[in-house]
């Protein structure tokens, strides 16, 4: 890993994003520290995914600045960005016409100059690191279960060893065992590869177990940010409703 030049991996300042007359993100500021796992929570349709997609340049912004690894992001498509971040989309977004192995190799093939042999080895190494077997490499995305799809998508996101990993609801649609395994996997990979992870999630278990800090997005702004413990004590009405609603209470009691 390169020496950290500054403390923050992602800096979002005064960001405004909207569609038509509607303003989704309203002067939002957020800093993600290097090497942390930040969980982002918010109401459905409240702009979590919009924030993530704005940071990675898929949605244009009205105003504000975004810096990723000390470099401003300007919305234009730029090849070199592929090496900065890996993105795990909610549905995996695997290329359906390529095999699993080819999916993982795709970023390597497009961005680097390396032999097919090494590319095969790297792809299998990545697949094994995310807990799949080498034999799975020849399957097509339509033959995979939900959990496997997410793992392959994670392997593809990590293909170029990016310092930042964006996860859009990584555990949605997985059973609790698979979700727990996936959380543990993210934690392990984050430690071994020194990743900064930006995770949009609704899964209270992931928030509690893997996230170093949690940011709550409400009314287009970050209304609370900090370790889970602090968020549980937050006085903001939406945050209270989120973490102290019936479902959350039930979960937290059981976890204690």
């Amino acid at each position: 890993m390169p020496e950290p030049q500054d403390e923050f991996a992602i800096r979002v300042h005064d960001l405004v994003v909207g569609f038509g007359r509607q303003t989704v993100l309203d002067h939002l500021s957020l800093d993600v520290r290097r090497g942390e796992i930040l969980g982002l929570v918010g109401a459905s349709g409240g702009g979590k995914s919009v924030l993530m997609r704005t940071i990675i340049g898929l949605i244009p912004r009205r105003s504000g600045t975004i810096e990723v690894m000390g470099r401003p992001i300007d919305g234009a498509h730029d090849r070199s960005r592929a090496a900065i971040w890996g993105i795990l989309f909610q549905q995996g977004a695997l290329f359906s016409s390529l095999t699993v192995r080819q999916n993982v190799q795709f970023p390597l093939r497009e961005n680097l100059l390396l032999s097919q042999e090494l590319m095969d080895e790297i792809a299998i190494a990545k697949l094994e690191m995310v807990g799949l077997r080498a034999q799975d490499g020849d399957k097509y995305p339509s033959e995979l279960s939900g959990g496997m799809t997410k793992r392959v998508a994670l392997a593809r996101a990590l293909a170029l060893d990016p310092p930042i990993l964006f996860l859009d609801e990584p555990t949605s649609g997985l059973d609790p065992i698979a979700a727990g395994d996936f959380d543990a996997l993210i934690r392990t990979l984050q430690k071994t590869l020194g990743l900064t992870v930006f995770m949009v999630t609704h899964d209270l278990a992931s928030l509690t177990t893997v996230c170093d800090r949690v940011a709550a997005l409400a009314d287009g702004r970050i209304v609370a940010i900090g370790p889970m413990r602090e968020l549980l004590q937050s006085e903001h009405p939406w945050v209270r409703a989120y973490f102290h609603g019936k479902r959350s209470q039930m979960l937290q009691h059981e976890m204690r």
Binding site: S96, L118, I124, A134, S142, T192
Partner: protein, 378 residues
Amino acid sequence: MNSEPLLLATPSGDALELRPEGPWIAANVAKLETLSRSVGVDVDRSRAVTLDMSGISALDTLGAWILEKLSRKAASSGRPAEIVGVADHFSGLLEEVRQVNRHTLAPAAAPNPVLLRLSDLGKSTVGAREDVAIFLQMLGALFMAVIGIVRRPRSLRLTSLVYQLNRIGFQAIPIVVLITFLIGAIIAQQGFFHFRRFGAESYTVDMVGILVLRELGVLIVAIMVAGRSGSAYTAELGSMKMREEIDALSTMGLDPVDVLILPRVAALVIALPILAFIGSIAALYGGGLVAQFYGDMGPAIYIARLHEAISVTHFEVGILKAPFMALVIGIVACSEGLRVKGSAESLGRQTTTSVVKSIFLVIVLDGLFAIFFASIGM
């Protein structure tokens, strides 16, 4: 900090000390591959290998894997590499990489080319049989659905039928008229041009009339409808299949054939004869315009000649074929739509298959009808 990766090999007697330096990261992969290949011979030659990692400034999975490969290369001939000087923050990654790629995949046996051909032939034979079976199944299901509607006319989905009629019938009129008009004009022009040489210009009208009414009008329109509406049916039903909408319908106790397929096929069966009629008229009109401006034959003569040349039989022969062609297009389009699997690629493939197959079948059917009508003297 070094910006270029290096690999220093220091042989001392039988032993070899390898000292990778600088950033061993994916961005430098071309350099790293060259480096690791260059020391390959040295590694093979030496008795003991030491990997001194202390000079590495940055390391990622790819770099770690290349180093791991070097150490495995040494270990493979019984000289385990000693790894020293690993920085704390790299040890986890190196440990992880040590676990991977341990199981070598048995390489897939190269298939015998002759057997491959034979197996392809067998698969396509079985596939063709399956195609026929699916076609007949769909025909049967439609027949049952029609019987159901005859029994209970209120179960007909009128809204859907009217909507499909508007989409594939009414909205298709401009393009059908344009194309058949042009085809009629072109045939007439060719007729005048070539028949003029032996003074048989007036027979151009016979040719245009018979050709358009018996064959071309309905054939061109059917091909256009297959391309325009058949492909739309396949894509629609295919994406509904992909998003489990068809399964949702079945679980609600509704038959997708009743709800989705019958209105679509029925709309085609109703619309295609109408479109074929409109198309034929447009083609005759196109021929008439060419007769006036290119063949110096006034409208009155053109219509009179047409009156002599064609009879209602010609028109019947053409228009009788239209509903059957529509049925074939509809069945192929819908059954290909239902055969779509999960992926976007499969949707594209099935749509292509649908159009190609329905155009092919339309032409085959036209040929069969030609034989049939000839033998009954129509």
